[in-house]
Every structure is written in C-alpha cells, then in structure tokens.
Amino acid sequence: MSRGNRIALACIYWAFVLYVFVPLILMILMGFKDSKFIGFPIRSWTLDWYTRIFSDAEVLHTFGYSVIIAVLSTLISVAVGTWIAVLLEGRKFWGRAFTFGMMVLPALVPGIISAIAFRIYARWLEIEPGMGAIIWSHAVHNVPFVSLVVMARLSTLPKSQIEAARDLGADPLIAFLRITWPYLVPAILGASVFCLLLSFDDFVRSFFLGGYEPTLPVLIFAMLRSGMSPEINAISTVALVLTAAIGIWAERFTRKAKKGST
C-alpha cells in the first residue's frame, strides 16, 4: 500500500470521527447559549438551562421513571437470556435451529413493527399501556442480546472444569453455580449494561406502549414536536454524558475482567 493511500485512509477515518462527534458537540454547546433562540453564532454563555431542568419536577420524575424501567427490564432480560443461552450453547437437540431462530427474532424485527406487534399483543393479554407494558417489551426485546453475549462466553468455558467438579461429587446444579456462573459473570455484567442503555434510550417501544407518563426519549420527542429549545439541549446533554460514561466504564470493566480470567 502506497504512502498516499495510507494518508487518504487516515483522512477518511478522521473525517468520520468528525461526522460522528461534531453534531453532538454542537448540541452540547448550544445548551450553554444565553438565548432562547437555537442557532449560531453563540455570543454569551449561561448555565440557566441546567438550573432550570434540575429544578423541573417533571423532568426529574421522567428521568427516575426511565431509570426504573431500564433496571427492571434489564433484570428480567438477564435472567431469561442467560437461561436460554445455557440451553442452546453446546447442546444438540431436535429443533435447536428453530429455537435459535426464535431467540434472535426480536433483534431482527424492524423497530416500528416490533413496537406494533407488542402493542397488539399487550391488548390481547389485557396489559394496560404504561410502566409494566414498557418494561415487558424492553425485556423481551433485549433477551437476544444477552443470550448471544452469554453464548459466546460459554463457548470458551473449558469443559474439563465442569467434568472435574462432577468427578469431585458436585451435582449439575452445584457445578453450574460454582463453575459456570462465576465464569459467566463478566459477560453478564457487560450484557446488563448494554441492556440498560438500550432500554434507557429506546423510543419506539416506549412510545407505543407508554401510558400518560413519558420516558425520557418520549419526553424529548414531545418537546421537539412543539419546537426546539435550549432546555432540550440541556436534558439531552445530561442523558448523553450519563450514557457515554456508563458505556465507557462497562467497556473498561469487561476488558479487565476478561484479561483477568484468561
């Protein structure tokens, strides 16, 4: 590869980094602008919008509501997803391919169709739109991601460790709890953080299954439909900083845990 090509490729990479970051940086800057009018240039700066959202009961309430939904749906997806992964990984049984297909289905269905299918199913099951319905839809949607991550980790588990445990007299359950489970913990933690972020950021399912209380993305969407305002910038910036911080922490954590175990 010639030197010219290499420089050209490096330029494309950095241009892509700019494409990915510039819109977010502009959005953050706009949240500090001392004017209700969204647009450049910015002449004077203020923290007013932040003090305003942090003293706004509705915004704070919505934030807490979204966090509770994310945590509860994550707990369900992790429990179910891990169970499915243990069933599917390294086991041959009749209908395994079909079971695997069913497992990944929610991850492949386009967002709007998934939301509508859940909406119809919720009415059939007589689940009222609201917190329970949102938690349920997020949990079902996130199960495939947990299962895939846990299956990948399980496939690297040395089978001899389980056999050794069984030889020493452990029954299958104790062997699972003492050998398999600790081995899976880093993968499960990584998957949990991923689920938390997916649920916290989800718009389309929360929108179609929500009652009168909006989640944070639904609130931002509703505010946007009535016009842009620096308050939205402040709310979005807080959400962005939190998600990015949790994501980076999880990435570092899982990398360290993986290094430690091998």
Binding site: S2, A10, L26, M27, I38, I113, D171, L224
Partner: protein, 328 residues
Amino acid sequence: MSNEASVSNAPDGLAKTEGERSFWGWLANWGPYQTLMSVVTLSPRRQFFILAAFPILWLLTQHLGPMLQMLHVSLLDAYPVAPDVAQEFSLESYLKFFGDHIFWMPLFRTLIFAAVFTLSTLLITYPVAYFLARHVSRKNQMLMLLILLIPFWVGEIVRTYAIMILLGNTGALNLALKWLGLIDRPIPFMYTSFSMGLGIVYLTALYMLLPLYSALEKLPKSYNEAAADLGAGAWTRFRRVTLPLTIEGISSGCTLVFLISTGFYATPVLLGGPSTTVFAETIAGFFHVAGDEWPTGAAFAVIMFLVALLITGVFQRLMKSLRKGDSS
C-alpha cells in the same frame, strides 16, 4: 488456567464427603435438596426437559406470540371483536394496501431510501474499517474503535436532535458555508430526504462498521502480500483479494442496516418532510385513530416485514453465489 491447576484448585465444598464447613457442602448434604436433585437428575432426558421447559415456553409466548397475534389481527375484519359478534376473517386489510397509492407509495419509498442509505453507509464505513483493521497497530485499534463507540451509546432521539442543530437554517453547516463565502442565504437542508438520510446513516453506521471491521481484521495480511508478489497493483489486490474475502462482513452489515433503517419512526418524523413520508409513519397512523383500524395497521406491518425479509433473503443468496463464483 491449565487443567491440572483447576482440578487441584477445585473448591473444597465440591466434595460431598468433606464439605461440611462451607455453605455448598451444607447444601449438598441437606436432605430436601438431595431428594430434589435425585428426582431431577434421575435421567439426562428429564434433566434436559426441566432445563428447557421455561425457555421454550418464553420463546413461544414472548418472541413468537406478538408476531403471530399481529398476523391474526391483520386477518380480522374488525378489532377488537365485539363481545356478541363472531370473529370474521377477511383479506380486506391486505387488499386495501394495493388499492391506493398513498399506501403503497410510502412502502416503495421506504425500501428505496433504505437501499440508498445502506449503500451510503457501506461506502462511508468501508474505508474507515479498512484503515482501522490494516493500518493501525493492535494497541491503538481498540482505542480508536472505542472512540467511535461512544456516540453510538447515545439514543436515537438525542442523535436525531443533534443532526437537527447541525443542519438547521441557522445551524453550524449553513454558518460555515456562509463564513467560507460559498452562499449568501442559508440552504434549507432540513425536512428533505438529505437530512433524513444523513440522520439515518448517522444512526446505523456502527452496525455496518463492526461486521466490516471484524471481517477485515480476520483477513491475513499475507494474502495481499502474495498478490503483490505476483504483480497485482493496489486496486487489483483490493478488487480480487480483499473485497471477495470480506463479502461475508458486507453481507451481514448490509442486511442489518437495511432492516434497521426500514424500521425508523421518530427520525423520519423529525428530520423528514411531507414528501418523505415513510411507511413507518403510515403504519403508526392506524394506531393513533379508532381501534377498528388496527387490522389495517397490522396487515401493513406484516406486508412490510415480509417484503423486507424477502429482499434481505435474496440479497444474502446473491452475495453467497458471488462468493462462491469468485473462489472457484
């Protein structure tokens, strides 16, 4: 950890005979637990059914259930069914789709848009993935990939809003163009297929980048060197070696991005204009009005899902034959 080490390190509680001191030893020797385990582990077959019952039930009722119920509702002539009226099946909702261009045009448009956005994402991210996989040292690779991951943890709505600020009439792009003296009056980027495309590519780029990166990363450098030794130029090496051997990554990235970009609802609503109504908006419309429009909405969702699956299926078949054709 080697096998020997793991055996000798085996926790003492594992052995039923010597485990009295630990919780695990106590559990293993506890009467009710032993009875339970002797019932459960009587045969491997029974053990398997106990392990499998819950997940299979979950998959059938939670993963397949919503899709089947959607299909069911799409075939009804009214929903919800009134208590003293018998359920009537009809294909009316499906026929409605073909009857009016305000229904099938948005689907057609959505598919064209999704194809264009998928191709754009591929063209934008391939060089990026190529650069990361081939020209960056292993240590920096993870860091540079991690940098790109950060914005992708941020949700759909926030990133769509960021694009709105970039492209608005008083947005940064117009300001920059004006400052450079290229324009006098702002260009209305917003509420066009361009703004919508930029937003959707922004949202889906990572789903393309990661499969491409892993395909390129797996490709041994020696293949390219061998081709060079045999006298192939840079372009020939790329076209005859790199491209065919990364088709798997291209194919899975494109499938993923295509399916995801047909499913966007909020982004087209916020960034698109009246001439870019996508099928997601059409479908959603039936759920914001009276209940008896639900069969139509369900039927349209089924049509969209089947068409999207058909297209990605044909596409994957095509890519597979392309790969075979090249390797022979």
